[in-house]
């Protein structure tokens, strides 16, 4: 049962193509497991289609159709070269979201007590700050500040804070106005997260032994 969804603004930005590539991957991971948001996304794409139909047509150059026809038999662009994907140790029965198929995935790096980090590099948007995080049970946040939007999709385990309990399939959305102190569930938590700005870690990692 999924109880935390992306905000309407985030879903709209995703449907219209305005969402940053890193966040878009995390939202796509959510949509793959959430029929309700997937239906909302489809509805917004239908809306985009309806608006597209209403545009006054802008004529193309006379030779445009002939030019495209001449290219129909060209080979499609080659698929991306082979990707480096570390085989991450995951709890049994857990697999990474299908949307990460085209991404490079780094090994688990130990970055603090009870905390592991794997860099997710999107070949189509390598500057984006996307990561997998594995947090041991009971870790909690003492202090944090956000810079811009942060999205956290739970893949396994969970955490809770004043906004509720987050389990597999739930997405957490936070920005600089958010004040919460999440605590990982006893079994721990694996999340896919995206952040704006440079390479820094999300609130989730500013943890203290608890």
């Amino acid at each position: 049962m999924i109880s935390h969804h992306p905000s309407p603004e985030t879903l709209l930005a995703h449907a219209t193509g305005a969402l940053a590539a890193g966040h878009a991957v995390v939202v796509a991971a959510h949509l793959q497991g959430c029929a309700q948001c997937e239906a909302a996304q489809t509805r917004m794409e239908s809306l985009g289609g309806a608006l597209l139909e209403e545009f006054a047509p802008e004529p193309l150059a006379d030779e445009a159709f002939a030019q495209v026809l001449a290219r129909l038999d060209d080979p499609a662009p080659a698929p991306t070269a082979s990707l480096r994907q570390a085989r991450l140790a995951l709890p049994s029965g857990v697999s990474l979201p299908a949307v990460l198929r085209g991404a490079e995935i780094g090994r688990w790096l130990w970055i603090g007590l009870g905390l592991r980090y794997s860099r997710v590099r999107l070949p189509w948007a390598p500057e984006q700050n996307v990561m997998l995080l594995k947090v041991a049970g009971g870790r909690k946040v003492l202090h944090h500040s956000h810079g811009g939007l942060e999205l956290t999709q739970v893949i396994w385990g969970g955490f809770h804070d004043i906004t509720g309990q987050y389990g597999p399939g739930d997405i957490g959305e936070a920005d600089e106005t958010t004040e919460h102190q999440p605590v990982a569930d006893p079994e721990g938590c694996i999340c896919l997260a995206s952040l704006e700005g440079g390479l820094r870690l999300p609130w989730f990692t500013r943890l203290f032994g608890g």
Binding site: T16, G48, P59, L60, V68
Partner: protein, 174 residues
Amino acid sequence: MISRVAETRDRQAYAALFKHFAPRVKAYLRRGGMDAGEAEELTQEVMLNIWRKAGYFDAARGGAATWVFAIVRNARIDHARRRRDARLTGQPPPEEADLAPSAESIALTTEREAHLRCALNSLGPEQKQIVQLSFFSDTPHTAIANALNLPLGTVKSRVRLAMAKLRVLLEEMP
């Protein structure tokens, strides 16, 4: 029409798709602030993508315009990225199950989309403009604030209201 392009590589069907959609795709790209030459070039890429990706079209998910919208949206994102860095590859397409949708699910989708067009046209002019700018502007919030002469801080709630109004209209339909 798209299914015919996918199944039999029917160039006549493709010509009809081109005639209908290419000028609208160009209008979409121009709306997002692209100059005429760039929009012309990218429209050709999009039309080529429509030929190549026709096999991914799923009539149970949405009509032709819905599918074309998603293709233009993605092409626009890839284009903006490549303008910053020409070496970047496009985002890989999702792997979609190749199942033939039932006539019933296609009929339901057609009805759902007809309702949506109806709801869209029952919005007030200002709310409709908000929805349009949300979809087709590069910087929707600034564009909405400018077009409607609103303080930037109130735009978010106005967008939310317009989208909520659409949902209500949809739910009121038979």
